[in-house]
Every structure is written in C-alpha cells, then in structure tokens.
C-alpha cells in the first residue's frame, strides 16, 4: 500500500516546522520509516490520522490514491482488520483478559495465526510463560511485548508502532525488532516506528524528523 501525504497540519495545535507537517511525501510498501521527535510534538497525532481515529487536520492522506476522508465506517473497520496494524503508545490491552486472550481477541477477527504460532511468537519475546496471566498483572515492558505480538496477529500492509520499546531491555528489543522485521519483510509491508530518539538498530529507508 502506498501512502501519499500532502501538506497535513493538525488543527488543534500548532506544530513546529518538521519533515512531516506541511510536507508532501509518501510512504512506500516494503520500506521502513522512523518518525523521530521529542515528546508532545505530535507523533501519536500523526499515527491517529493514519489509523483514522482523528481527522482534525488539513491536507490529505491517500491510501493507494484514495483519500482517507472519503472512507466509510465499514471501510475503516476492514482496513484495521486487514491492512493496518498498530501498537498504541498506551498499548490498550484489556486488563481483565489474560495476555493470550488479548492476542486471541485480535487474532479471532481474521484467524490469521494458530495458537501454536502465537505461543511461538510469545516465546521469542520471552512472554510465553505469562500467557495465562491477567494483563494488568504484567509489567509495562511485558505488556509492550504482548501488544507487539497482538499487532502481528493480523494481515497488514502498514504497521504503526508508537514508541513500542520504551520499557523493554536491549536484548528483548533485538528479539522484538528481528521478529517485526521478519513479519514486515514477509508481507512486503510499510513499517513506521515512532521514537523519542533511539533507532533500535534498524536500517530505515528514511528517518522523518518531527
């Protein structure tokens, strides 16, 4: 999926000059982008625009030449199931469900992975032993890893990761990035990671300063 972005500016705050706001650029399939910025400069807003949670901006965003402003509610639902996956900065796990249930909830929408595959992913990120623990009993770093596995359990052409490794140690970051890169490469998807500064040893197509 090619994402064409033309001169977008949030209408509810005035952003500083950057390589994203008011610029014309595109995000290509198979490419990896790092959106680097200090806290509060609008990374999550940019992700929310792309994910359709927020449309308070001027300018246009097009998915494969289709303006997202024209997308209907069922079309957005379809996109979130099959084309765009996200790890929210706030993770948005359901605290009353176990780690595995949280992942299964997403997976059941498309039956993309088997339980064995999910557990194998969890093992790679060293959270398999927490599969049956309630999400709110996990540390934030563990929750982040569960959220990453959840994001991979659906078909996608665009993967948005909003500060996904902020509470994870370097060893687990390496595990996570290798898993993510494998998945992205397999699907020829676009990867966009938002980060405060760290580039997590990923070879980016482009770094966008926000």
């Amino acid at each position: 999926m090619t994402i064409q972005i033309e001169s977008i500016i949030p209408t509810y705050f005035t952003p500083a000059s950057s390589e994203v706001w008011s610029k014309v650029f595109s995000l290509e399939s198979g490419s990896r982008y790092l959106v680097k910025a200090a806290s509060g400069s609008g990374k999550s807003s940019f992700f929310n625009f792309l994910y359709g949670l927020n449309n308070k901006f001027t300018g246009t965003i097009q998915f494969d030449a289709k303006d997202i402003a024209s997308l209907t509610e069922p079309e957005w639902t379809q996109l979130r199931r099959e084309k765009i996956s996200i790890v929210f900065q706030g993770l948005r796990l359901f605290p009353e469900l176990t780690a595995l249930e949280n992942i299964q909830l997403k997976n059941q929408l498309t039956q993309h992975k088997t339980e064995a595959e999910i557990l194998a992913y969890m093992k790679r990120l060293d959270v398999d032993q927490l599969a049956h623990k309630k999400a709110d009993t996990l540390s934030y770093g563990q929750q982040q890893r569960v959220a990453i596995v959840r994001a991979l359990c659906q078909p996608f052409e665009l993967l948005l990761l909003d500060e996904p490794f902020s509470h994870i140690d370097d060893v687990q970051i390496d595990n996570a990035t290798s898993l993510i890169l494998e998945e992205v490469a397999q699907r020829n998807a676009t990867l966009v990671i938002a980060s405060l500064g760290n580039s997590y040893n990923i070879d980016y197509t482009k770094t966008l300063l926000l």
Partner: protein, 397 residues
C-alpha cells in the same frame, strides 16, 4: 470472547433491575389491555345493563301527556343529551292471538309501540318490515318471558320456553282502526332488556296508523334519551324542573356504567404512563450498560471490531431481557385473567380464552416494536461513542 469481555462489566443486579422495570411496565400494559378486551362486551353490546347510558322519560299521568315537537326540540338542545328518540304508539286497538300446539288458542288485547332503531338493543337483519313482508317482527321485554317461565308456566302446567322456541310461536295481530280493520301474521323476533314495551318496526306502525286510523293524530308518549353522563346534576335538575318522570334504577345502572368506564380509562392512562416510564428506565439502563464499557467498546472498535459486532452483544442482552419480561408479563395476564373471572361473572360478563390470544399477539407486537427501538437506540449510542475524534484514544498526542 467479545461477549465475555463486555459482560465482565455488567452485574447481575443491574440486569435484574433492567428485567424488573421492563416486566413491570409490560405487565401493567398487557393486563390493562386484557382487561380492556374482556370488558369490551360490557360496553359494546347495547343489550347489557351497563351500556345503558339511556334514560326513558315520560310526563305525569293526566289527560294530555304527549310530548310536543317543541319539547322534543328543547330536549335535543340540552348539552347533556346525545340522542333523543320518541316512542310512538298505534292509534288502533290490537287483539293478539296465539295458537299453542294442542292447547287451543289464547287471545288478548294488547298494544304496539315503535322507537327509532338506534335505541333498540337488538341487532338483527330481520328487524324490518315492508308492506310486502309476510310476517311482522316483534320485540318484547325479556321480563315477559321471565314472568311466563317462572310465574305462569309452572302453575298452569305448561312447558317453559326459551328465546329460540319463542320465534316459532305464530301470532295473529288483529288491528281495529277507526276506518279499517286488518289481520297480520307476526312472530317474536327477540327480547329486550332495555326497552320495556312491545315493539314493532317503525315502518309497520307508520303504515298501519296511516291506513287504519288516518284521522287520528300520532303522539309521542315517552322519550328515550342517550346522555353523556347519567350522573350529571344538570340532567337531574332538568328532569325535576320539567316534572319528567324516569326510572331511578335505570339511571343508577347508567351511572355504574359511566363510573366503570371512567375507572377503566384512568387505569389505562396510569398503565400507559407507567409503561412509558419503564421504557425510559430501560433505555437509561441500556445507556448505563454501554457507558460502563465505554473504554472497552472504544478499544474493541479501534482493534477492528465493527460497531455491528459490538452492538450485537448488547442487542442479545436486551432481547433476552425483553423476552423474559414479556413472558413474565404474559404469565401475569393469565393469573389476572383467572383472578378477575369471578368478578366478571358477578357483572354478568362472559370472558373467554380468546382475549388471551389477542394479548399474546399484542405481546409479540410489543416485543418486535421494543426490540426494534432498543436496537436502534443501542446502535446510535455505540456509533456516538466510537465516532471519530470523540474516542478516548485521540487524547494521545
């Protein structure tokens, strides 16, 4: 799993409250509806005592007690009077004879009267007469049959008769007027509980009066009035002032009827009010259930669950509760129906099981209408909650 997740926030006590409010409203509505159907016969059939919102008045006995046209006009103009009709009588002598099988004949002097059809409590297609008719239909007071059956027949060793047999009795009317004399065959078409006289169709009386005694004037001896409220003091004052006579008991039953209608209307009004309140409560309950899960609903929506999928969980809850409430309300109706039955028997109202079928149909209609309304409301609420820009998630910058 989505169902389980959303159910986690919902407590049993809340659903119980939901079901109770819903049952209460629907129960009252259906019971009142059933009551209404069962008591319809009381008001619709004009033969029943309770539908008798009519008063028959006459003047004091004297030489000239006929009502003049002006007096009738004045009666018509009174605000408490809905309809006015006059009794006219035959201006000739009547000899009626009956040939009973194997008993010889009975002959008696009698009289004939007529009144406008709209005051007659007998609906029968044979209640008509034209000069070419073979027989004249007659309506007699039910009292006459009762007198015969319980008074005369046992003593005279005669068989008792019912309203079906009575039709078969051939009657010969010998009418002797001032200028002519005629014989007509007649039969008793029906009996009346409301009108205490021997009635023939108005067309027959007009025709024979004209034919047999053309020189005599036709008088209105008594007046029948349909009134809006038999307890209206204005009505009683009016009757007193004009020295019109009426049957106290007749007026009393009219008052009972009026009172009963009033009570039923009040009960229906309160029933509808409580139902509306309970529907409002149920809607508030649905809102509460949805609001409690606001965060979960938003998160599910943004994970890729459709509004339809999320709303379906709430639809299922409300359908289930609605079904339980409607069943409960229907059971309440059945219980009430059998509890009220003795009271209706006392009033002489025949209730039948058919009213339950109507209530059942009403219950199904109510289920469909309310389910549709709750569904629409739930969809609207969830759409509002998950609308773009209103989400909890957009708070992240």
């Amino acid at each position: 799993m989505i169902g389980n997740l959303l159910h986690k926030q919902i407590h049993f006590s809340q659903l119980l409250f939901f079901a109770l409010t819903s049952s209460l409203g629907l129960g009252i509505l259906l019971v009142v509806f059933q009551l209404f159907i069962d008591t319809q016969s009381l008001f619709n059939s004009s033969s029943d005592l309770l539908s008798n919102q009519t008063v028959i008045i006459s003047k004091e006995i004297g030489r000239d007690n006929a009502f003049t046209k002006e007096e009738i006009e004045i009666l018509k103009q009174q605000e408490f009077v809905k309809k006015v009709g006059g009794f006219t009588n035959g201006t000739y002598r009547v000899k009626g004879s009956v040939a009973l099988m194997g008993m010889g004949g009975i002959s008696t002097d009698m009289f004939l009267e007529s009144v406008s059809d709209r005051f007659i409590d007998v609906q029968n297609e044979n209640w008509k007469w034209t000069p070419s008719s073979r027989k004249v239909p007659i309506i007699i007071p039910k009292n006459y049959i009762d007198l015969y059956n319980y008074g005369f027949a046992p003593g005279a060793g005669l068989p008792q008769i019912d309203t079906n047999i009575i039709r078969e009795i051939p009657i010969e009317l010998n009418l002797i007027g001032t200028s002519e004399r005629r014989i007509y065959n007649a039969y008793i078409l029906a009996t009346s509980e409301k009108i205490n006289t021997i009635l023939v169709p108005k067309s027959f009386l007009d025709y024979t009066n004209n034919l047999l005694s053309p020189d005599k004037e036709v008088n209105i001896s008594r007046v029948i009035m349909e009134v809006t409220n038999p307890s209206d003091p204005k009505l009683l004052d009016f009757l007193e002032k004009n020295k019109y006579q009426y049957f106290q008991s007749e007026l009393l039953s009219s008052r009972i009827s009026y009172f009963l209608q009033l009570v039923l209307s009040i009960v229906l009004g309160i029933g509808i009010l409580i139902t509306i309140l309970s529907i409002t409560l149920v809607i508030t309950n649905i809102n509460l259930l949805i609001l409690k899960n606001k965060q979960t609903i938003c998160q599910l929506y943004f994970l890729g669950f459709s509004r339809k999928q999320i709303a379906a969980v709430y639809h299922k809850i409300s359908y289930k509760i609605l079904a339980v409430s409607i069943s409960f309300a229907f059971i309440l109706v059945v219980i009430c129906k059998f509890s009220f039955a003795p009271f209706f028997d006392n009033l002489g109202v025949k209730t039948n099981a058919y009213s339950l079928i109507y209530v059942f149909i009403a219950a199904i209609v109510l289920f469909v209408v309310l389910a549709w309304y709750y569904t629409k409301h739930t969809n609207k609420k969830i759409a509002q909650m998950t609308a773009v820009n209103t989400s909890l998630l957009t708070t992240e910058i």
